[in-house]
């Protein structure tokens, strides 16, 4: 009963908004604003035909590969730069500069230079996402307790083991925070790169629909991307809670 009341409190507004949209758009005469029922209808049609599923698979693969590259490069470089004070001081302004480049501006350059396939999209995502991960990892490494550091040194822990078992876990909360920042950037860059030029993926579905004046499909594709993005972000925060449970429980927050 109590959970029901709570669910009611949290869900009434979204339900109301969707209902309003449903009925307000039901008799829409504006060709650019199709009825919600029509949008749902075409969405369902293209999902069950597998068209949208394939498109989503392409987009999400690009996103995942790009993010993985960014994470690998960002974390490795971050550990290295974070541990070496001099290197950190020298490179600091350049990292901040690259971090500040509006990631969407990279899209025409990379796609223009490398063509329309999957690789340039993956690179764009990777390039855009690497900077927040790198910066956060550096911060995380710097934040590792000096006592823990000196203890490791006193016991002569080998360098590799030291990185793997001391520095990396210590920096983990910051690394994950970097991934959290990078994730939405990656999604945006993925969408922009596909909207810019593509022949497959969710962005292509939207682009193609709008170019051929299939308005309900355009809306449907946009909603689909939005919902997928939302689900990814929510899943990530669940993952974060699991991976960092020691951190949350230790009350370090």
């Amino acid at each position: 009963m109590k959970t029901l009341i709570r669910a009611g409190w949290t869900l009434w507004l979204p339900v109301l908004l969707v209902t309003i949209w449903w009925f307000a758009s039901a008799n829409s005469t504006n060709i650019y604003v199709p009825s919600l029922s029509r949008i749902v209808e075409v969405l369902w049609r293209d999902i069950s035909s597998g068209l949208l599923i394939d498109a989503a698979r392409v987009s999400l693969t690009n996103l995942a590969v790009g993010l993985l590259i960014a994470a690998a490069v960002g974390i490795l470089l971050g550990l290295l730069i974070g541990e070496t004070r001099r290197l950190r001081l020298i490179l600091d302004p350049y990292i901040h500069f690259f971090r500040s480049v509006p990631q969407s501006a990279l899209v025409p350059l990379i796609i223009g230079a490398m063509g329309i396939g999957a690789a340039p999209k993956i690179y764009t995502v990777a390039f855009a996402c690497v900077w927040p991960i790198l910066l956060n990892t550096i911060d995380g490494v710097r934040g590792v307790e000096p006592t823990i550091r000196s203890v490791s040194r006193v016991f002569g822990v080998p360098k590799l083991l030291y990185f793997r078992r001391v520095v990396l876990p210590g920096a983990m909360p910051q690394v994950v925070a970097g991934l959290r920042v990078a994730l939405p950037i990656g999604i945006v860059v993925m969408v922009v790169s596909e909207l810019f030029a593509s022949n497959q993926g969710l962005g292509f579905y939207i682009l193609n629909s709008s170019a051929t004046f299939q308005i309900p499909e355009t809306w449907g594709g946009a909603l689909m991307v939005g919902v997928i993005g939302y689900i990814i972000v929510i899943m990530f925060s669940l993952f974060e809670r699991r991976v960092l449970s020691w951190y949350f429980r230790s009350g370090a927050l």
């Binding site: 709570r6 409190w9 949290t10 869900l11 009434w12 507004l13 979204p14 908004l17 650019y32 604003v33 001099r86 001081l89 020298i90 490179l91 302004p93 350049y94 901040h96 500069f97 690259f98 500040s100 480049v101 509006p102 990631q103 969407s104 501006a105 990279l106 899209v107 025409p108 350059l109 223009g112 230079a113 490398m114 939405p184 950037i185 999604i187 945006v188 969408v191 922009v192 909207l195 810019f196 939207i206 682009l207 629909s209 709008s210 308005i215 355009t218 809306w219 594709g221 946009a222 991307v225 939005g226 993005g229 939302y230 990814i232 972000v233 929510i234």
Partner: protein, 275 residues
């Protein structure tokens, strides 16, 4: 303001340290320049050896491109267009987000009612709506500003709600005991109390505003620096495209640095009180 012993490291104690660093560390500057040289040399080598795609401009070409860009009026016009669209959207987002956030945050029923909607809005990649908004509003500046607001509103809103939620119960009681009127409470209590959180949202919103404004220009016919990059790329003027990209980065960097500085001076009390 003579007591310094209770203070955490602050802007005041940092300033002399920084100048000392500069005096002592000419070598750091030299090393930074050296690092820049190495980066540029690597780039040049990568282009010449064919590691980067052959159309990538060489370092001298980009340097020339930078000069061409700075001396052309169209570049400055484009930069101005991007700047004004991003700024307009950013300001609207900030005003709207702070107002709504400070309204929602202190009211528990409203907070609970809106939480799912706000979460969804924040996680929703707004750029996906671009084709739809483009259909509705056309490739206009108002479309661009709308998109910027739809993207940048959320961090401000979420941070403002968080900030308003954490109003100290002791202060809340005090405000009630002394029957502080609603408007004064909003201005002198809730707003300053939420400010440390709000400024974070405002700072994130600024980066997102630039990202969205440039993204819209890249994807549509809306004029601005993003459009210039696309046009340069289409015209195979890679030197110019890289130069514009460089300036876009410089622009973003300047904005971030300015906001960080404004924030630390605005929130001097917060650092002291909690540090």
């Amino acid at each position: 303001m003579t007591t310094t012993h209770t203070r955490a490291p602050s802007a005041e104690t940092k300033a002399p340290r920084r100048s000392a660093l500069l005096q002592r560390d000419w070598s750091l500057l030299a090393q930074r320049l050296g690092a820049l040289g190495i980066i540029l040399a690597l780039w040049q080598a990568a282009v010449l050896t064919g590691l980067l795609p052959s159309i990538t401009p060489t370092v001298p070409e980009v340097t020339l491109g930078l000069w061409t860009a700075v001396t052309s009026t169209s570049f400055w016009t484009a930069l101005g267009q991007t700047l004004s669209a991003a700024t307009a959207g950013w300001i609207i987002s900030c005003v709207l987000g702070v107002f709504l956030g400070l309204l929602i945050g202190p009211l528990r029923w409203l907070d609970r009612s809106t939480s799912v909607t706000v979460e969804f809005g924040r996680a929703f990649p707004t750029i996906a709506l671009m084709p739809v908004i483009l259909l509705l509003l056309g490739a206009t500046t108002s479309m661009q500003i709308t998109m910027v607001v739809l993207s940048a509103l959320w961090p401000v809103l979420v941070q403002s709600i968080l900030g308003a939620r954490r109003l100290d119960p002791g202060i809340a009681d005090t405000v009630r005991i002394y029957r502080i009127p609603r408007l004064l409470w909003f201005r002198r209590v809730l707003l300053p109390s939420a400010l440390p959180f709000v400024t974070t949202g405002v700072r994130i919103a600024a980066s997102i505003s630039i990202l969205a404004a440039v993204g819209i220009e890249v994807l549509t016919q809306v004029p601005g620096i993003g459009r210039m990059i696309t046009l340069a790329q289409e015209a195979q003027r890679w030197d110019l495209a890289f130069a514009y990209l460089f300036f876009a980065g410089l622009f973003g960097w300047t904005v971030t640095a300015l906001l960080a500085r404004a924030e630390s001076s605005l929130l001097a009390w917060n650092r002291q009180a909690s540090g």
